[in-house]
Symmetry: C2
């Protein structure tokens, strides 16, 4: 009986939420142990919790520098949290279950379905296996390239380790680095190899696994699903528009792009556009960019990557669905059409709810931060958006946050990764029975 | 034939847009004439255009001080623009037509319907007449009270003029004042008479005429329409929550509420909460409030007053419809219900579109301002929201704006008053024919 109650309580949304939370807690305990620190002294729990949350939610915001604070054990804990968080712990769980030969019930399938954002139950397990295989394959391949590049500037064993660490961190859109002093990738601002490999990893990781599988299976463009087409269109346009924006906004800023030659300027603009959605590696100092560039980055971070990917934000498809619907209303169209397919009204509704909840969350978090932190408003909004979109870019403000500010960002990263809608569903008592009374409808005047 | 083309082109949305624009241009020309200036020298056209837009759109942002710049003629031009803009020029046109005995055709009725935000065509003309009579009645009554109060500190003829000017400006949520030096009502921060009269005028003006008529006709609460109930609930909760917010945020700020006694603190908080939606009179200096209070004000300004009123913003009903829908999704309800009435799905869609378009407009305007003005981000966001919501509050930044910044705010005030959706409808070629091809529907993953 008690078990039935628990099983009934454990809806897919709740399993996801509780699972992420448990993983974060385990990570926080491990990272706070003295055996994880270089100094041999345990990290205080709130900073360990911040780091674990940032890793599991693949955010990349850091209150302590990863290289300076953690020894190899600590770094490997972070890397594992990133890999599990990036894949989605349910995918990992599924893979382990398959590997150990256990049967998977309906309930587990439902959870995996929710975690992977697929509509049909069929092939969920095969999808989970494919995801793990594709991920490991891509990470290994690019880790090798990075290792060769790093071997030019460091010992070979360290280069291999750095190749693996940064390939995983980039593909999972996690943004953690081992270059010390909160420097991220600023040392490689005009290095083509590092830039292109990391950008490619970020973009692939941000497409979402369903898109990757769809691309793999359907080589002919016309056979791709509407979802895949919209993801590809949005991803490429956002990358292009983002690049042009950074180039124009920062080309004359001596602290960022101004010092670089033309190729360097273009490369750094491309990287900034890529990393904003939602990787978090930085090759320029976001503490030195203009307010216009901060707002530009905030917008890109808010949109984020694609559904079912390692990235965050409200997602590309959500954004395009809203924009397409608004355009269809203004042009007096009956339905919202893309690539000769009508978009389901329920999808449109859900997109609006996702965007509104994200905006409300972000406004609330920024409001509280204006009370607890004595910093410029746009930097607080930037940091909040970075945490919500699990981006990890920072105007160098995160390490200076008050303890309350750190706690708020921990919760924001968590809400951003789980998704505000899923989180709200997990926290609410839902009306299971259908409404018995059918109320009369009434029109209202809005706007 | 040519006339038919024009008539076809003149949709209700376009008549409203063109009408507002024409009124503004006439006002701008009059205000730029030397006979409108105290100095006898004509005001430059862009500042005259800014003032006329601010008056017609009942915004109240000013680049020149009304008392210092304009003589009696100029002030009366502004007052007329406020009164016409506040009533909606179509209401005024209707009234004139009725007064002169002309018949009103279907087309005119459609325009009036759009302008007054009513659903049925019946009684549109009676409504227009009632609106004008209610408005003049309320303004006259409170003008008398204000005149008595002002007579204590100025000659009686000036007190009567000030009573009329500020009663009209307050009821129309316009926020223009004649106290000089951009001071607004700061001189009356703890004066109960001025505060309560002005607050009452602002609140009544912000309810919307349909609500006022509904309240007039249906004294029993249960017979009020859903629209009226939602407006009353939202208006009173926002006033209460706003007041508490300002009180907590500013009570210890020596530059705003800190210097006042408890009654003064409460009165000033009430006034700040009232004026933010969307009157624009100020009794405290918004250049001295905290960032948290600026954000608080931005949120209240964004919500604004109620539909079909003299106020701006996305409107109270739009906000509550979105919130009710989000709550119904999270709690797993089939339909969105308020006061035992289901809210029409088309209303919900329209509310989302209004909010999204407003947010996009605001982000775009603020982004351009970060490029043209060298000011703090939150002040630019504040000024943009104030212009969009036709509020008129300012962190004293408007008079310092660059010419491009002024032009942008002129367009923002206009878009805010006409409404971004109506404006977009006016600017777009609509698909009149029904879509011939019915495309298949496809679900997408969002968020
Ligand atoms: K990230
Ligand atoms: K106003």
């Amino acid at each position: 009986m008690a078990q039935t109650m628990l099983e009934k309580w454990l809806t897919p949304a709740r399993i996801l939420t509780v699972g992420f939370a448990a993983l974060i807690l385990i990570g926080a305990v491990l990272l706070s142990l003295p055996i994880a620190s270089k100094s041999g002294e345990g990290l205080n729990f709130i900073d360990a919790l911040f780091t674990a949350t940032s890793a599991v939610c693949v955010t990349g915001l850091v209150v302590v520098d990863t290289l300076t604070q953690f020894n190899l054990f600590g770094q490997l804990v972070i890397l594992s949290l990133i890999q599990i968080g990036g894949l989605g712990f349910m995918t990992v769980a599924t893979f382990i279950i398959i590997f150990t030969g256990r049967r998977i019930g309906l309930k587990e399938r439902l959870v995996i379905q929710e975690a992977l954002n697929v509509n049909s139950m069929e092939g969920v397990i095969r999808l989970a296996r494919n995801i793990v295989l594709i991920t490991l394959g891509i990470e290994l391949f690019f880790a090798a390239i990075l290792a060769f590049r790093f071997a030019l500037v460091m010992p070979i064993d360290r280069a291999i380790y750095y190749g693996i660490f940064h390939a995983i961190s980039a593909f999972c859109n996690a943004g953690f680095d081992l270059f010390g002093d909160f420097r991220s990738l600023t040392g490689f601002v005009d290095d083509p190899t590092v830039n292109f490999v990391v950008m490619l990893l970020i973009i692939l990781g941000g497409l979402g696994f369903t898109v990757m599988v769809d691309l793999w299976k359907a080589p002919k463009p016309e056979r791709l699903s509407l979802h895949t087409k919209l993801v590809l269109i949005m991803t490429s346009s956002l990358l292009l528009v983002g690049t042009i924006g950074y180039f124009l906004l920062e080309m004359n800023n001596p602290k960022t792009l101004g010092a670089l030659d033309w190729e360097g300027k273009i490369l750094a603009s491309m990287f900034a556009s890529t990393t904003a959605r939602t990787a978090g590696y930085a090759t320029i100092d976001y503490g030195s960019v203009s307010d216009a560039s901060l707002l530009w980055t905030i917008l890109l971070m808010f949109v984020g990557a694609s559904p079912g990917s390692t990235g965050g934000g409200i997602k590309t498809v959500t954004t395009i669905v809203i924009l397409l619907y608004v355009v269809s209303v203004i042009t007096g169209k009956d339905s919202t059409v893309a690539f000769r397919k009508r978009i389901d009204p329920r999808t449109i509704y859900k997109a609006f709810v996702v965007a509104v909840m994200a905006a409300l969350l972000l406004i609330g978090v920024t409001f509280v931060l204006t009370l607890t932190e004595d910093k410029e408003f746009i930097r607080l909004l930037f940091e909040a958006t970075s945490a919500f979109g699990t981006v990890g870019l920072s105007t160098n403000l995160t390490p200076e946050l008050s303890p309350v500010g750190r706690l708020i960002l921990i919760l924001t990263m968590f809400a951003g990764r789980v998704g505000p809608v899923t989180l709200a569903l997990a926290l609410t008592v839902r009306a299971h029975e259908k409404a018995l009374i059918k109320y009369p409808e009434e029109k209202l005047f809005v706007g």
